[in-house]
């Protein structure tokens, strides 16, 4: 039973990041896309925590950053949801492909 | 003599025009302004001659310098030498004639005159500024009014022509800009000041890059081959006064720039590229002449002949001798007056016959003797008849060019000499078909020129004849300046 090191965590966070990105690219449902954004942000949180714990244990910037990111994420999500609802009002759908009126 | 007046007078005129109530007020204000310009130009001329006579050694007289963007080492630096004085005189003549000719512009009179005066403002500023930044500023000021003049009051495929003109000229000035920046940074203390720069030896490698940029950039304005195609369309679509200003003033900005900025600041580059310049301008001269021969539309004819005539300007500059450069300046002045007059006459004819196709006219001499007499005069001037300005200018260029004994220059000069025969061919063709022969049906009771047209024509004719019969005053005015430029060139090995 070995102790997980920085690289394990970084691996996970990076994986999480790309999963999030992939989800953002492929999902059609706006809410799901939002969720995949959250994944990205969380991977970043992991990064910060890990760096803070393993590299710079005596500087707490990472931790604070994580906390703020969580807060901001919440705010962002709130606005996004509000906008999505608005979109639903006008489009009667939350499928991203129905919102491609403006192009070229 | 305070040079600022040359900027302020047009400025005040323009603002006054904007304040005027009705069209007639606008016209009279514009005319007053133009007259004031003319008077100013003459005052400047005599003041300058006085200084010259007093043996003032300075290259640039009446200098004034005001701080403007000091952090860029830019200063509003004004001053004139013989060349600029000649150019200013030319501008004043063309402006007043243009104002008179467009006396009965019905649509948007106020805007029309406003733009005319604005254009003249740009020209004056350009000719008197000794700071390259200021010079460039005025150069670009002069572009947009042309665009609007053509686009709004023009005829034919005016939008196309206006766009082409604006874009090509802007392209030219873009090149100029890059060249200027190169010059600016090439010197230890970054400066745009012409005189300071002329004292500093600009490093050869910079000249190698910047001279062509500047020369071609300015060359676009004066229809350097093959970047001349804005000329025919632009002139032919422009309203009469528009084409007068275009050919009479703005094509001269280019020539002046080539001489004053490109050659004067970068003699080494000039030496290096003179061959190319000569070849290009010779092509322009012959090719323009032959192309003119095939034109049916009077305005196109004059536009192409302008290409050919401005070829003489560039040829004179490219030859890099004192006489040839003097000739180039003379040709600029002469061509300015002449072609402005030509366009004015074409405009007058067009207003009456409503066609510009030579083969649709004939025998107009019978019904409009005055206008056609002027047409004769200007035609003869353009084919270089002694006693009119064209002859003097061209001969000076020839004499100057002939001073190089090597084949290239010889061939170029001979080709240029032969071009005057072609000129005779197309001019006589045009005159013969419009003025002479039996009169075409429907033209029997056309009216002759009105007072304003007569006045405009006479003013320009006076200019032409004054140069043609007594060229020495222009020569004395210009040649010291070109002498100084030549000395700069001779400094290079």
């Amino acid at each position: 039973m070995m102790e997980p090191g920085l690289y394990h965590i970084l691996f996970i966070s990076t994986a999480l990041f790309f999963i999030g990105v992939y989800g953002f690219f492929t999902r059609r449902n706006l809410v799901t896309m939002l969720m995949s954004i959250e994944l990205v942000l969380n991977s970043v949180n992991l990064n910060f925590i890990a760096f803070n714990k393993y590299l710079w244990p005596n500087r707490l910037d990472g931790v604070f950053f994580t906390i703020f990111i969580i807060a901001i994420a919440a705010a962002e999500a709130a606005t996004a949801i509000a906008i999505i609802i608005n979109l639903y009002r006008s489009h009667r759908s939350i499928d991203v492909e129905n919102a491609e009126e403006m192009k070229y | 003599m305070n040079l600022l007046l040359l900027i302020l007078v047009p400025l005040l005129t323009a603002t006054a025009i904007l304040l005027m109530r009705n069209a007639s007020q606008v016209k009279w204000v514009a005319l007053t302004g133009a007259t004031a310009q003319l008077i100013l130009a003459f005052v400047l001329f005599f003041a300058f001659r006085k200084e010259q006579a007093a043996g003032n050694p300075l290259q640039m007289l009446f200098q004034q310098q005001y701080n403007w963007f000091p952090s860029w080492h830019i200063s509003f630096h004004l001053g004139v030498d013989g060349i600029s004085v000649a150019m200013i005189l030319l501008t004043a003549f063309v402006v007043i004639a243009g104002v008179l000719v467009s006396w009965n512009v019905a649509r948007m009179t106020k805007e029309f005159y406003f733009l005319l005066i604005l254009l003249s403002l740009g020209a004056y500023g350009f000719f008197i500024s000794l700071d390259l930044f200021v010079l460039f500023f005025f150069l670009e000021i002069a572009v947009i009014p042309k665009y609007l003049l053509i686009g709004i009051w023009g005829n034919g495929k005016k939008e196309y022509s206006a766009n082409k003109l604006a874009l090509m000229l802007m392209g030219g000035s873009a090149l100029v800009l890059v060249g200027l920046l190169g010059v600016y940074f090439s010197t230890p203390e970054h400066t745009f000041d012409l005189l300071k720069l002329s004292d500093i030896q600009i490093p050869p490698e910079v000249q190698k890059i910047c001279f062509p940029l500047l020369f071609v950039g300015f060359g676009v304005f004066t229809a350097i081959f093959p970047l001349h195609t804005w000329v025919p369309d632009g002139h032919s679509s422009a309203p009469t006064a528009g084409s007068m200003f275009l050919a009479g003033i703005s094509m001269k900005l280019g020539g002046y720039g080539c001489l004053r900025v490109a050659v004067f600041l970068m003699p080494q580059g000039a030496k290096e590229y003179s061959t190319i310049i000569i070849v290009l301008s010779t092509i322009a001269i012959l090719y323009g002449a032959f192309a003119t021969m095939m034109q049916k539309d009077l305005k196109y004819m004059n536009a192409y002949s302008s290409v050919s005539h401005c070829g003489f300007v560039l040829l004179g500059i490219g030859m890099l001798t004192k006489v040839s450069m003097t000739g180039a300046v003379m040709q600029m002045v002469s061509h300015g007056l002449m072609t402005a007059l030509f366009f004015a006459v074409i405009g007058m004819i067009y207003e009456r016959t409503h066609t510009r196709q030579v083969n649709e006219m004939g025998g107009l001499l019978k019904v409009m003797p005055f206008i056609i007499t002027i047409l004769f005069i200007v035609g003869l001037c353009s084919l270089g008849l002694p006693g009119l300005s064209g002859f003097v200018a061209e001969m000076t260029v020839f004499m100057g060019s002939w001073q190089h004994p090597d084949p290239l220059h010889r061939i170029a000069t001979i080709a240029a000499c032969l071009s005057i025969v072609v000129t005779a061919v197309y001019i006589l063709r045009a005159i013969g078909q419009t003025a002479m022969g039996p009169i075409k049906a429907g033209y029997e009771n056309l009216s002759d020129a009105t007072w304003n047209e007569k006045l405009a024509a006479i003013i320009l004719v006076i200019g032409i004849v004054a140069i043609g019969t007594a060229p020495f005053w222009l020569n004395d005015l210009v040649s010291p300046a070109s002498q100084l430029i030549l000395e700069k060139i001779q400094l290079v090995q």
Partner: protein, 644 residues
Amino acid sequence: MPNLTYIALIPLLPLAGFLLLGIFGRNYFKTTSGIIGTTLLLIATVLAIYTAYGYFFEYGKVAGVYQKLVPLHYTWLEFSKGVSIDMGIILDPISVMMLVVVTFVSLMVHIYSLVYMKGEERFPTYYAFLGLFTFSMLGLVVSSNIFQMYIFWELVGVSSFLLIGYYYDRPSAVAACKKAFIVTRFADAGFLIGILILSFYSGTLDFNTLIQKLTSPDSVELKNAVAASFLGVSALTWGLVLVFIGGAGKSAMFPLHIWLPDAMEGPTPVSALIHAATMVVAGVFLVARLFPVFAISAPEALNLVGYVGAISALIAAVIACTQTDIKRVLAYSTMSQIGFMMFALGVSGHGGENGLGYTASMFHLFTHAMFKALLFLGAGSVIHFIHSNEMKDMGGLRKYLPITHITFLIACLAIAGVPPFAGFFSKEEILLAAYQHNSIIYYVALFTSGLTAFYMFRLYFSIFWNKKADIHGEHHGEGGFALLMPLILLAVGAAAAGFIPFGNFVSSDGTKLESAFHLQFSILPVAIGLIGIFTAMWLYKKKNDKPDKIAASLSGLYKAAYRKFYIDELYTFITKKILFNLIGRPAAWFDKNIVDGLVNATGKATQTISEKIKGMQSGKVQQYAIYFLIGVIALAVLFIYVWK
């Protein structure tokens, strides 16, 4: 030496007339303009004669040599040290002689026109143009600077253009004046380049200096000019030949003569003045002016002059025999006579006895001015009377126009070289000079003079004898005094001018030249002349079909001559086919399609590209994100692996 600045008035008075009548004539001097012009010219003529008298008999001669005086001279346009266009007046025998000739003939024409042109709508304009021409011609002859001469050279060209095109509503007149101007213009380009060459090597434009520099054997300029060569011919020769081309153009020498016959479209007095007496001899005058340089430094150029002159004389004479338009006949005879003058110069040497040709040429120029002007004016009154230029409409006019008939006869005898009329003396000197120097030219000249006599009398007989023309309706008589007075005066000149001891005044080096009169030599020319006359009489005195028979018998030659040897056609081919179709049209096409096309193409290209790449902006937010990520990765790769 008295103050001679007043001489400037001689050219300036006609100029004043031109300006006055040109600007105000139309409105203020509708009828009086003729008088004004004439009076001004009268004054000028008096001054000219006074000057001539003064020059030849009072101050002109120093130590037996006529000097080149420059009483007036100021710098007009200075190019560089020494090289400057100066406006000046040079007085030497030929210029003084020309002053007299020009003013006198011009005065005659002015008077003559008072009647001839009466009632013309553009009467003032006509006199204005006459004034302009006279001014330019006088300026030309007194030029002290080669560039000044070029200036006036161009001015006479344009005034001739204006006068030929006087009847501007006749298409033929328009064509003629354009042709005249362009052909001479083409020649003038040669003149100009010649000037450039000469000035480059001699370093001056002033005639005296130039001649002095280019003739004195030990001058650097001359050495350079001869040393520098192109196509194996020395630069000096090139220069002179080019200058001569200019002269040939004005003087209608072969092959640049085509404009002269057409120029007869102008009013007849104008033809008399410009295209007979004065302007067309400008070429001769030019060569005479530079004669020392020709003769001393570039004899080969002078030979060219000689041969061109001879050929022109011959060809013109042959053509003249076949023309039916009386003015055209006169035109060709003019050309032929000028040919005489030219080759006279060509065969002349410089100085002393060798200079005979020079004197002869100038002498002939003088006499020719008289009788040819007379012929034209006579023809004018004939035309005035019969309203046609064609021989076939004429005949038996001696009854109607007695004075014209007599004067015309005198002129014909003069030009045919019958003693004791003026033409005899001058032509005889010319033949003598030719005989002494160049036998080929001599025989050509001999034959030509025979032809001259023939076609002149063909003209004379078919106008005044031959069949009887139908004079329909009542005819106004010969016209008033003003019309006849010039004829008479000129007739006197044509009859008596020969007795002037010309050699005393005009010679190649200014010294006195004894014109010895050799009877035994002049028998042959006179005889040939008479043969010509009698042939003409035999053929044309009575109406008969002999001429047509002969014409038919040598049809080929006749046709060719009648069609002026197809030279016009050749020129039309060159201009139309080559200049317009092979150069002009392609140039215009190239400009429209290639140069302009490229400019537009750039615009098009930009448009199409922007249309092509619009897919980037797909409106899909996810695709935007993909581009985003691609951008990030690209940058990372670029700057971590490539740029680092």
